[in-house]
């Protein structure tokens, strides 16, 4: 598969996975709801395409895309969303914490910005061990005013942690516009700590891949962190339990303009129609099977509700 076809496949995988996940929310199979990343898939596809399998990522509550792009099994991920024992996290994490440590995913974190110091610390530990592995921290525009995120920028820059700081700026922290919440700019946050920073078209998988590859190379070479501000548009509501009629923080015109720049189409136009069709068909089969797997998977035994609370049991 060509690089372009690979990027398309990842975008389409995430899109198809989340479309089915939303259906399962509506059907009551996925409890609790999800935060779809529809429209933002190019960031996950582009960043992960620049990583090696042994690199690490730390994700967000809107993290399905990152985890799938890192290579998670869609069937076990869907089972995780459905709260089943066969899920990636044995049904203990759910949508907001669906992660796969075997693939170097340090968790999908529901506290805004919380993944940034964790990824930075992991990256520092990798470098300390003499490795050239790197870590990626994902966060949204809502996180750039979190103290802990800015503190982590400082630590990562001071200690040259090989971490790529990926801000997915979708313009809204739930319903609050970035302009109403962020004084200065996202890139200016990085400048304050001497961290190189780049504005990236987050709807274009190629552009994200190129920018990430540069940041990863710098990190592997000991050059420390880089911030990528990826401009994206979230097609859907913040989450599936946002009021059906939409609380009205975005106009229909704005939504239409946002949807006009669709990563699926941007990347789909770059590959032959036949290749695209073949990928779509393959994914349909794969994802339908994932849904079937999740629906059929057994629920966890209630008696095991607090299994895994501790790594080391005491007494």
């Amino acid at each position: 598969m060509t690089a372009d076809a690979g990027l398309y496949r990842t975008v389409a995988l995430i899109r198809g996975f989340e479309r089915r996940a939303v259906e399962l929310v509506r059907a009551g199979v996925v409890p609790g709801g999800i935060h779809p990343c529809t429209g933002q898939e190019a960031v996950a596809a582009g960043t992960c395409a620049a990583l090696r399998p042994d690199d690490l990522i730390a994700s967000t509550h809107r993290g399905h895309g990152h985890v799938l792009a890192k290579g998670a099994d869609p069937a076990r991920m869907m089972a995780e969303l459905a709260g089943r024992e066969a899920g990636l996290n044995r049904g203990r994490g759910g949508s907001m914490h669906a992660a796969d440590f075997a693939l170097g995913v340090l968790g999908a974190n529901a506290m805004v910005g919380a993944a940034v110091p964790i990824a930075a610390g992991a990256a520092w530990a990798l470098r300390r061990a003499g490795s050239d592995r790197v870590a990626v921290a994902y966060f949204g525009d809502g996180a750039v005013s979190q103290g802990v995120v800015l503190e982590a920028f400082n630590l990562a820059a001071l200690w040259r942690a090989p971490v790529v700081l990926v801000c997915e700026n979708n313009g809204f922290a739930t319903s609050t516009r970035t302009a109403d919440a962020v004084a200065g700019s996202v890139l200016g946050r990085a400048a304050a700590f001497g961290i190189p920073a780049l504005a990236v078209d987050g709807t274009d998988p190629r552009a994200v891949l190129a920018a990430t590859a540069e940041a990863v190379a710098r990190a592997r070479a000991g050059g420390g962190p880089t911030l990528l501000e990826c401009a994206v548009y979230r097609f859907d509501a913040h989450h599936t339990w946002e009021h059906a009629a939409r609380p009205g923080y975005r106009s229909p015109e704005e939504e239409a303009a946002g949807r006009a720049r669709d990563p699926l189409e941007v990347q789909g136009a770059r590959i032959p129609a036949a290749v695209r069709a073949a990928i779509d068909a393959e994914l349909d089969e794969l994802l339908d099977a994932a849904v079937e797997f999740a629906r059929a998977a057994p629920h966890p035994d209630p008696a095991s509700a607090l299994a895994y609370l501790y790594a080391t049991e005491v007494g």
Binding site: R92, G107, A120, W124, R128, A152, L155, Y308, A311, T312
Partner: protein, 337 residues
């Protein structure tokens, strides 16, 4: 036999474990010059890559340690002031502690958080005098409060070797405690196992940290009149409920001495645990800081909030029906029983 101080025991445990296990690292403010003494000599022995002076950014370095732990390091994070735990509560209680369960057991976070100087120091006022062990026990973080140099050594060793987050509270009132020890016999003390410091038959006094020594002093004062058993759980979570029950079966009476706030506190948990067991021969009592207290600055006011010997004597008197208020040589102390 040589004397070992509590602070030196912490320093020795950390140094011994860093020598044994190259993955143990220290993060904290001013740890290289060892402002608290716990990290004294470590940067000289182990180098600046293993003893890291952090910027003043507790939230970031606490979660930074979590990330480092996920990538193979075993960090000890030192906080100079217990109230800083309020700042880093999210990073410990909501992040490090929850990753094991939320990942279905696939992530483990071996981080030790050390508070050398928890509780009231002499007039350090409202924002430096908390003793927030109960908060961590409440949310299920492994919580340790050693009382003696031997236990400080052994429990810190166990915390460092544990694959879960563990908070170790070293009460300021215990840092100066010294003990004759056989250095060759020092070793890990298991988490979750209590210790009977003094056996007795009339009443069990449960205490942790520096208050164990207050309880022992009172027990000695009462020797011949009231037989006081002093039980130290040593870890608040997990709590040695079997050890507590065994002690209560021997004595049938209970007083808890607890240097934290009364409501929803550790003493309340011990009393509730006792109430769920076989019937006690007398209503239990707790000696604590007042409900919802903030420690005031003026020394007399600070002391008035701290549980002390006079209140413990009074509580033992009530529970055992023995008049103990006549005992002399006990400094008058305030607070509430």
């Amino acid at each position: 036999m040589p004397k070992l101080s509590y602070l030196k025991a912490l320093n020795r445990a950390l140094g011994d474990e860093m020598a044994r296990d190259g993955s143990v690292c220290v993060f904290g403010e001013d740890v290289r010059v060892a402002v608290s003494y716990v990290t004294a000599g470590l940067v000289r022995r182990f180098g600046p890559e293993r003893v890291l002076d952090t910027p003043i950014s507790e939230q970031a370095f606490t979660s930074f340690a979590t990330g480092a732990a996920l990538a193979g390091v075993r960090p000890l994070v030192e906080f100079q002031i217990p109230s800083l735990l309020f700042l880093a509560f999210e990073q410990i209680a909501n992040q490090a502690h929850k990753l094991s369960l939320m990942s279905g057991g696939r992530l483990r976070v071996p981080v030790t958080y050390l508070l050398p100087g928890s509780g009231s120091r002499e007039s350090w006022a409202g924002q430096h005098s908390d003793h927030p062990y109960g908060l961590f026990a409440h949310v299920g973080v492994k919580t340790v409060v050693p009382a003696t140099p031997t236990d400080a050594y052994g429990l810190l060793l166990s915390a460092l070797r544990d694959d879960d987050p563990v908070v170790v509270f070293a009460p300021s009132g215990a840092l100066g405690v010294r003990e004759d020890v056989d250095f060759a016999a020092l070793g890990p003390v298991p988490l979750g196992l209590g210790r009977v410091h003094r056996a007795g038959t009339d009443v069990t006094v449960v205490a942790v940290g520096h208050l164990v020594h207050e309880a022992l002093a009172v027990a000695e004062e009462l020797a011949g009149r009231v037989s006081v058993e002093v039980f130290d759980p040593r870890t608040l979570h997990p709590l040695d409920r079997a050890g507590l029950a065994a002690s209560l079966r021997r004595t049938g009476r209970l007083v808890v001495l607890d240097d934290s706030n009364r409501s929803c506190g550790f003493a309340a948990e011990v009393l509730a645990t006792a109430a769920e067991g076989p019937r006690l021969r007398a209503a239990p009592r707790r000696v604590t800081r007042p409900e919802g207290a903030v420690l005031p600055f003026a020394p007399a006011l600070d002391r008035a909030c701290q549980p002390g010997r006079a209140q413990l004597l009074a509580a033992i008197g009530e529970v055992t029906g023995v008049l103990v208020g006549e005992v002399t040589g006990v400094p008058g102390e305030g607070g509430g029983t």
